[in-house]
Amino acid sequence: MTTSSALLALGPLLVALYGGLLALERRAALLMMLSQPIVSVTLLGLILQAPLLGQELAIRLQLLWMGSVLFGLSPPPNEHLVSMVIGGGALLAQRGLHADLVEVEPMLLIALAFLLGSPFAPLGGYLDRHLNRRFDRLNALADEAAQRGETAALSRLVRWALWHSFWKNALVILVGCGLLSVALWLLAGQIGGAPKVALTAFASYALPSLGLATSFALIKRRRALLLGLFAFALSLLSLPSGALRP
């Protein structure tokens, strides 16, 4: 087994376990925001020893899904699931390609990962709705446990729900991340010419600007928006290009 194929085989399993645990943190327990893409994908990049690509992915994913919040009865697109699939897929593919001594432009990899992985956002929203409906069935069991005064039975219901949330999220991430990393591994080296230019433009311009627009749309105060524009104009004029980032 070559290094690249070993990475592609075992990597999705690692990402699925990591993503499954963080999916619990997002929906079921703690709610400390560890599952926010800027945290989870940056850390995944460090774990998979590709910190720069991890950061680039994390910044785009966080900006893009800034408005996605899980509360109320209609779950939004699942920003965590899509981040794990896109982040995990791109990071594993890069490691696989690197092991095969194939160098691919990171922006090309990011563009392909977003284009192939984005359907997992609405799919994740569907998974959230499915879990809500699945847990409706626990109400009858909870009523029975309460009528018997059995607190241990309630604890079992909670543990069952946690386990159920974990494995369903982990399974979707495993399948998504596995398929995406293989697809990227096969595709990324084959794309050149005009499509490569268009995809690079997509990752360098369209994704960050869409993310910025999504985040700006959260601001409802006109004066605050003006402050943002003022900060943008001022820093554009005063910052020396490339001086701030090492």
């Binding site: 327990a29 926010q36 909670v158 994704l207 910025l212 601001i219």
Partner: protein
């Protein structure tokens, strides 16, 4: 005199530290079995269980108490601890033979939605975007620990509201003043405005950092053209989002437009040199 099986145990009952600590710890799992019919009911009854076990040693009385709480519960998970504390206080009084005031249950029920209204907007739509936009700005400036700082900032409010809410609920503050008191204590109304200004400032700086020539040099464009393209994209996307066009639709349509431009239009209106 024989007490009925469901009547509360007479005499003073001292609630120990551990049942309260366990109840608080379990409140972190409030949404574990969240469902579309009764929302966080199972998690709430699960959080109360250690206290109810101590208050009602007899299964019949415990069953009656548990049945009160599996009916339905829905609020902001962070603020739920205030209601959890208030319910523990009511159950404690009830177990000592004091019947709960007839309006207590309905007041606490109405507070669920009030608690959600007070805190949902602050945590989900204000503090969260601000904290993690700040993290993005930090990473773009090369500050590697910026996501950790964002988590610390967010969780300072998160754990603070949870803990103070729980203690105030237990202490028996008047129900209607309870939530406003927590909001006032953490100055949520003041920070709400600050986070909006902070978010906007961070986004402006992020936009400037993302449009620096070194990053835009990914494409063979003149720097003015690149900047104009970036700003045009942002403005168009902003208007589309205000018109409720979905993010995923914008992702694919922008990719398709760029591909079409490079493959077809660039020949007639050269902008990019492939």
């Amino acid at each position: 005199m024989n007490a009925s099986p469901t009547s509360p145990a007479p005499g003073p009952i001292v609630l120990g530290f551990w049942p309260l600590a366990r109840a608080f710890g379990r409140s972190f799992f409030l949404s574990a079995a969240a469902n579309s019919e009764r929302h966080q009911n199972i998690g709430f009854a699960y959080a109360l269980a250690p206290v109810l076990e101590q208050l009602y040693p007899q299964p019949e009385a415990r069953a009656e108490a548990l049945t009160r709480h599996v009916g339905g519960f829905s609020t902001n998970p962070y603020m739920a601890t205030a209601l959890l504390g208030a319910w523990i206080r009511i159950e404690h009084a009830h177990a000592q033979g004091q019947p709960p005031p007839p309006t207590a249950q309905s007041i606490l029920k109405s507070l669920e939605s009030a608690a959600a209204a007070l805190t949902d907007n602050f945590f989900w739509s204000r503090l969260r975007p601000f904290a993690f936009t700040f993290a993005i700005l930090g990473l773009l400036l090369g500050v590697q620990w910026a996501p950790v700082a964002a988590l610390a900032l967010y969780n300072l409010f998160h754990f603070g509201v949870r803990l103070v809410g729980f203690l105030r609920g237990l202490r028996g503050q008047e129900a209607t003043a309870l939530l406003q008191g927590i909001k006032g204590l953490f100055h949520l109304h003041r920070y709400e405005a600050l986070t909006v200004w902070g978010l906007s400032l961070c986004l402006g700086l992020i936009a400037a950092l993302l449009t620096r020539p070194r990053i835009l040099a990914a494409l063979p464009l003149a720097s003015d053209t690149a900047l104009a393209l970036f700003l045009a994209f942002t403005l168009i996307f902003y208007l589309c989002i205000l018109r409720k066009i979905r993010t995923i639709t914008l992702i694919y349509s922008s990719a398709a437009i760029l591909l079409a431009y490079v493959l077809i239009l660039n020949e007639h209106f050269p902008l990019i040199d492939p």
